[in-house]
Amino acid sequence: MNTEVNLAGIKMKNPVTVASGTFGYGREFDELIDLNKLGGIITKGTSLKPRPRK
């Protein structure tokens, strides 16, 4: 079965993603599941350079 999707130009092998704030950067779950099964990972809002909290 072909599960490929195109999300606004982003080609994903399937439409299954993980929501922002539930999955860290993905690597935190590396040992628990095969990340390659996912169509994509949605991270929290992020920035190019580290930005202090306070």
Binding site: G21, T22, F23, G24, E28, R53
Partner: protein, 228 residues
């Protein structure tokens, strides 16, 4: 369950989504296959938890936290706790006492807030209880009694858990006296397992400042590296 001190469990308080997030509560004591935790009723979640009855089943996730209290090699330790922060210190004292002298300093706001005095006294070699207003025990702050004792006691490790001002004072004291010190931190948590990244805390890693997470790298940290 392996014996680590200072970990917590993340407790599901409702079957539905109201409230959604689990409540992180420290482990107070481990006895065989039983764990004990104590909590203060503060909001919606803890209110629901307080309604549970003996025999009810609850859904817990844990034990959580890689940062635990470590006392190997210590012979004369000081444990200092404030208010409800004293709860995770019990198990540490009970176990550490097998190989070290335990000097316990507990501080509470006033007589009404004093809890578990007898239980903590039993797991201490030296026991000091203070209330800010002097309505019970010694008047003043627990840390001042520790500072006084440091003049003649050779304390080789300090462990602390309690309100932020107390932890900051302990952190300064440890820095000044160069006594190794471990503090247990508290932060509002979402997942409790290091993926929502909500409980971030800044630490010094060499010349770098990075953020790590109280739920995963903590809740116990070396007081010299963490910024509070």
């Amino acid at each position: 369950m392996t014996q680590s001190h200072g970990q917590f469990i993340n407790i599901r308080v409702s079957d539905g989504v109201e409230p959604l997030l689990r409540r992180p509560i420290s482990i107070h004591n481990i006895e065989g296959t039983n764990i004990e935790f104590i909590f203060q009723v503060k909001g919606k979640g803890t209110n629901i938890l307080a309604e549970k009855e003996v025999g009810d089943k609850i859904d817990i996730l844990g034990p959580l936290g890689k940062g635990t209290f470590k006392y190997e090699g210590a012979k004369n330790i000081a444990i200092i706790g404030g208010g409800i922060g004293i709860f995770p210190l019990y198990e540490l004292a009970k176990e550490a006492r097998k190989t070290a002298k335990v000097n316990m300093y507990l501080g509470f706001r006033s007589k009404d807030f004093v809890v578990l005095e007898d239980e903590y006294r039993k797991v201490s070699d030296k026991f000091i209880l203070t209330t800010d207003d002097g309505t019970y025990g010694n008047k003043g702050y627990a840390i001042d009694f520790l500072k006084e004792d440091l003049k003649q006691e050779n304390i080789d490790m300090i462990f602390a858990c309690g309100p932020l001002p107390m932890l900051k004072a302990v952190q300064s004291l440890a820095k000044e006296t160069k006594i190794p010190c471990q503090i247990s931190l508290e932060e509002r948590m979402g997942c409790g397992i290091g993926v929502c990244l909500g409980c971030a805390v800044k630490v010094n890693a060499g010349d770098q400042e990075i953020y790590t997470h109280v739920c995963k790298a903590g809740p116990v940290f070396d007081s010299n590296i963490v910024e509070i």
